[in-house]
Structure formats: C-alpha cells, structure tokens
C-alpha cells in the first residue's frame, strides 16, 4: 500500500471534514524523531503508514516543561491501563494536556517505556549496546530544540519519563505479568490528539529490532497537524 492510498482512506474519518486547516504534514523516517509544538485546539494525527510501528512520544506543557505528560496519572484517572479514543492524556498537575479524539487502532501502551542502549543490554544482551534506541533520539531532538532557541529551552535527560507508545500492544495480565504482543495496528491506522493547551511534542519513531513492537522492520510514520 502506498502512502497515497493510506491518505485517501483516512479522508473518510477524522478532522478533514470539520472545517480545519492543514498546518503541517511530514513523514518521520524509520528510526528518526521529531519535536514541535501544538497550539491549543490543534489536532495531531499520527499515521502508522506501514503497520506495527511503535511511535514513542512524550508531551510537555509548552510553557512549563516540568509539567509534562504523566502516564500514571493518566491511567489512574481514566481507570484503565490502556489508551484509546476518549483517553485524556494528563500532565503532572493532573489537568488535561491532550485528548485522544480518534483511534482506528484500538489500544496504545504507556507503561512499556522507550528503548535505550542500557535497557537493550539488560533485555537482549551486550551485543545490542550500540543498536539505535529511542532515548538517544529523544535526547538528540531535545538538544536540537534547545539549540534552536538559543539555549533558552532546557530540555534534557531529566525530562524523559514514561512515554506513550502509539500502536504498541503491551497487555498486562490479571496475575501481574506483562507481555509484548504482536501489534494490533495495520497500515493506515491512525490516532488523533487534540491539544487542550499549548503542548510540546517529542517523538521517537522506534528503531527497536529485537522484539515484535515494530514487526522487526521499522518503517516511516506520518504526522499531520490541523488547526481549527
């Protein structure tokens, strides 16, 4: 399936019909990242172009980075361990940061975290130490964001906390287990997130090759931002 086919299909549902303006569209290559702001009211669509691609994402209040997305506050307040349409993504202060207003996938993880060189060594062994990893992408993007603002934006490792893994399926069992399952996503599946306040978005398009979270073949994803 080509990217164009995906686009036509996604025209059937979502924000296009709601009198919105396309503000940004770009494809994030496999293993690459993106950082940028959403103004309050803007909607970010993330499209899993080729299927089974984990998109590791952090969110920050654009005017107070310490008030960032909090996975545990989000889960507790919604009373459910997974994210889907209707989920309110909350900041550390307990207030909404974004709302997931559309989801054609059905379930997204937020306890599995992002891969790092160090966690890869623990999980898969020393030979994986120098494989590409999400937290390196997070740091590279965060540093670039700071440089782009004359060093005025202090965003660093200290700001990396439990992220959302869009399109990733990590079921928890009633007995206290955690399993990494084949993705339930497919080509063209997407989520839409409406910013409830000005929000900084930090994305790593996951390069993990050691488990099925990317179908063992990381692929590009599409970001589409629409303004009201």
């Amino acid at each position: 399936m080509s990217a164009c086919d995906v686009d036509r299909r996604s025209e059937l549902a979502g924000t296009e019909g709601r009198n919105t303006r396309l503000r940004l569209q770009l494809d994030v290559p496999a293993g690459d990242g993106w950082i940028g702001e959403l103004a309050r009211g803007e909607v970010l669509r993330i499209v899993d172009l080729h299927g089974n691609q984990a998109v590791d994402t952090l969110f920050f209040d654009a005017h107070d980075y310490a008030n960032r997305y909090s996975a545990v506050d989000t889960l507790r307040e919604q009373g459910n361990a997974y994210l889907t349409a209707g989920s309110v993504l909350r900041a550390l202060d307990g207030e909404p940061l974004l709302t997931m207003i559309a989801d054609t996938c059905g379930r997204h993880d937020t306890v599995g975290g992002a891969c790092s060189q160090e966690s890869n060594v623990v999980r898969y062994g020393e030979h994986t130490r120098h494989m590409h990893a999400c937290r390196n992408t997070f740091l590279a993007q965060a540093l670039a964001w700071g440089r782009g603002r004359g060093g005025g934006a202090d965003l660093s490792k200290r700001d990396l906390s439990a992220n959302v893994n869009f399109f990733m399926n990590v079921p928890m069992t009633p007995g206290g287990g955690l399993t990494f399952e084949d993705g339930i996503s497919a080509p063209g599946k997407y989520v839409e997130l409406r910013a409830e306040r000005d929000t900084l978005v930090l994305i790593s398009n996951c390069p993990q090759l050691n488990n099925p979270c990317n179908g063992y073949d990381p692929t590009p994803v599409r970001l589409v931002v629409r303004a009201p």
Binding site: S70, Q117, A162, L178
Partner: protein, 235 residues
C-alpha cells in the same frame, strides 16, 4: 542483621535517606492498609533514577513482589525486593495531589488541624525531593508499597482493599548507594471514607550483598545483566 536505624514513620509523613549498598530497609505496615509512595535515585548522581517501564519490561511483570529487581533508567539494579508478605506492590497508578485529597476526604490545613493536617503524597514528595535539590522534573512514576491495583482483562483498574493486613512487611536490599524518598500518605484510589494515613515501621540494617545464586539475580537472564551492570560501576 546489624541494625542501623529503626523508627516509626507516622501516616501522611515523608522521609528520605541515602541507603548504602549492602543494607536493607524493611517496611512494616503496623495497622494494615498503609500506602508508601517510593522513589529511588542513585546517590551522587540523581539523574539516574527508578524507572517503572524498564523495571516492568525487563522482568515481564506489571507489579512488584519478592524476587523482583527495581531498575534505574541506566540499566542498573538499584534495589531488590528480597522479602514480601503482600504479593503485590503497585507502580502504575501514581500518587495523590492536594486536589485529590480535597475532593476525596476534604482539605485540612495546618492552621485548622495542626499536625493532623492533610498533606498529599505529591506535596510531601516534592518537599522531600527539594531537600536534595530535586523537583518536579525528577518526579517519575513511583512505587506504591502495600497497594494493589488489579488490571482486568479489558484493562480496567481496580483498587484491591485488604492487600496489606496489619503486620505486612516488605524488604528492599540496596545494590548501589541509593537516595530513598518515601511518603506514607493514602493512595488516591483508597476507598476509605475517612482520611486514615497509616504509620509504617522502618528498619534499616546491614546485609550481605547478592551472591551468584541470589534469587533476584537469577530470577531471569535480564536480572543477571542488570546486577552485573550495578557491580561494574563500583569497580
């Protein structure tokens, strides 16, 4: 075990201390129904801290109990849960803010209630963190000792009352020098009608380091590598 410290932390209170490698902290729920929010940082380098996701995915667990290692975000084991009578300690549902306390139980200020004032775990943890130069940016997903929040097949979260009866205890053995930050305020999902923060006994003592046959080290291949990483940084 050579005793280093023994004290009772009242309900709703906060505490912090650097606990050295080769020591173990036993927490005992004196009255039953306690909750202790727990955060761990590597002493001397608090940029390295307890990491809920890395802990869970390394061991394929969604809760903590005896035999589970508590990982940092740098691939090292900070502490091991070497003893537990509860069977389940939560780490995916966070802690209460002042807004939760006011909504669930009603606010009570120091002026009105003196030292019975109702402080949230969030406020307690932030003050305790500030004593070490840390703040909101360091406030990551915490452990809730003694608390069980079950996950249903559909993902529904359910607070399980009675997870920790009076006398329940849990022991953390430290594999590195670790800054331990605690707050004994109630969990936000605790259905108790009244504000009833519970006291916890804290006992810190010297213990042997994990040997090659240690049950936490050998629980899975991942933990073997995590322990090796902790030991490598000491050399």
């Amino acid at each position: 075990m050579t005793r280093i410290l023994a004290e009772t932390l009242p309900g709703g209170a906060s505490w912090s201390r650097v606990c050295r490698r080769a020591t173990a902290l036993t927490l005992t729920d004196l009255d039953g129904g306690a909750n202790v929010a727990l955060l761990l940082y590597r002493a001397g380098d608090p940029l390295e801290r307890y990491c809920m996701p890395d802990t869970l995915k390394a061991q394929h667990v969604s809760r903590l109990t005896a035999g589970v290692a508590l990982y940092s975000d740098m691939g090292r084991v900070l502490a091991s849960m070497t003893h537990d009578t509860c069977g389940w300690h939560d780490t995916i549902t966070g802690h209460a803010t002042a807004a939760h306390v006011a909504a669930r139980w009603g606010a009570a200020s120091y002026q009105d209630a003196r030292n019975q004032w109702r402080r949230s775990a969030r406020d307690g943890l932030l003050v305790e963190l500030a004593k070490h130069g840390l703040g909101r940016r360091d406030l990551v997903a915490n452990v809730n000792l003694f608390t069980k929040v079950a996950v249903g097949a559909d993902g529904a979260l359910q607070f399980v009352a009675g997870n920790s009866p009076a006398g329940a205890s849990v022991t953390l053995r430290f594999e590195l020098d670790v800054l331990v930050v605690l707050c004994s305020a109630p969990h936000p999902l605790d259905p108790a009608a009244e504000w009833t923060p519970r006291p916890v006994r804290l006992e810190l003592g010297a213990v042997a380091v994990a040997d090659d046959a240690d049950v936490v080290r050998t629980a899975c291949a991942e933990n073997g590598r995590g322990f090796a990483a902790s030991e490598a940084v000491l050399r």
